[in-house]
Point group: C2
Chain length 230, copies 2
């Protein structure tokens, strides 16, 4: 590789990192706007989230293209190969987080058409925790920092706990009063979407640790079997 | 590339296809067993599904390794490069379908501890439709057949329709009788899991069409923006 092409290659990797961070920022913003539309009962914001899904889809395609051309033209060495393969997987997670933001926005529009059921306390907490996990996981990815990624894994339990707590509370509402059922269900769904956002954050973090260390943190215990076959 | 290494390479690609089909078969089987455990109220079967998740995780790692070594050692040409990049993404979808089978199994154990709420009619239909979509999408992948993949996209609406229909029915149960709420909710969750299995099938099919045609069926309309930037 000449110095010239090698500089190009470094440049392409930088562009890849930037594009992934940008897309990550975009979907985090969508989650935040969807939450704002829920809390402030603003369907206009929700509709903007739904519209912005197209930009996410375009960004996903662009990143896929970039990864493929890096793989085809630059024939990257082992560690960069892992980096690019991980980017290919991560971008799918980000696109699906965008879809979940759209789902939250849709439920928020429906909820804005009925009187409020209860003040939201746990849901905004879940949203910021889940969104923070995604941001930190992406940060760990571009820095190739497995320790930062590990912090994400630790945060997942808190989101799950909030979800369980909220679920119990909403169940009580539904059992006490039939006319609460449909609203409480919608809120339950939003909590589930946020739990899935957190799961995507966890998935990304696990892939980053695997990328950095080649160690299987995605599936503790599964390693023994892996690679043994063929 | 000598004839010798080229034969090796073809062989590796075949192994990759086989491993993906095997993993696909495995997760389809898990969905089927989880459904059986639900319909026949057999928590023993559900526990077997939960246990088999480890084998899925091992298979995922193996396929990832194989893809990376193909990329590193064989420097595949454009169309194979796309094939391998798609394999990397598909395997993540398959692993998550395995997780959803585990979720169904968990809810089925909980439901087996309470009296039956209602006979299951739509849920088994959803399960076989969703599972069939995944199987066909994988078939389209290994055959590199975009038309077969398109058939998968058409099937998704049927699953969504069943889900909406079931959701309305369960809502009625919940509103009519508070003591139904917790069971009806669990069934609602199972329907949601199956909807997500179908979504994974759709995602795989879209990736296959994109792989074969380079055309953006994942996100109609997003193409104009894609690749324009950098």
């Amino acid at each position: 590789m000449t110095e010239h092409t090698s500089r190009h290659y470094e440049q392409d990797l930088l562009v890849l990192k930037e594009k992934i961070l940008l897309l990550g920022g975009k979907v985090e913003e969508m989650i935040a706007s969807a939450m704002k539309s829920l809390l402030e009962r603003r369907p206009d914001l929700a509709r903007r989230v739904i519209d912005s899904d197209r930009a996410v889809d375009s960004a996903e395609l662009e990143i896929d293209h970039l990864c493929l051309s890096l793989l085809a033209l630059r024939q990257p060495a082992a560690s960069d190969l892992r980096f690019i393969a991980t980017a290919l997987k991560i971008v799918t997670d980000l696109e699906r987080i965008g879809d979940l933001a759209v789902n939250i926005a849709e439920r928020s529009i429906e909820l804005s058409e009925e009187p409020p059921l209860k003040p939201y306390i746990d849901i905004p907490r879940m949203a910021s925790a889940a969104s923070g996990m995604v941001g930190k996981a992406l940060d760990a990815f571009v820095k190739r920092d497995p320790n930062l990624a590990r912090e994400v894994l630790q945060a997942d339990q808190a989101v799950d706990d909030l979800n369980v707590q909220l679920f119990r509370e909403l169940l009580t509402y539904m059992i006490e009063e039939p006319k609460n059922v449909s609203r409480a269900l919608r809120i339950t769904f939003i909590a589930k979407y946020l739990e899935r956002v957190a799961d995507h954050g966890t998935n990304i973090a696990q892939m980053v640790i695997f990328m950095c260390e080649g160690r299987d943190v995605r599936h503790p215990g599964a390693q023994e079997g892996a690679g043994g076959g063929r």
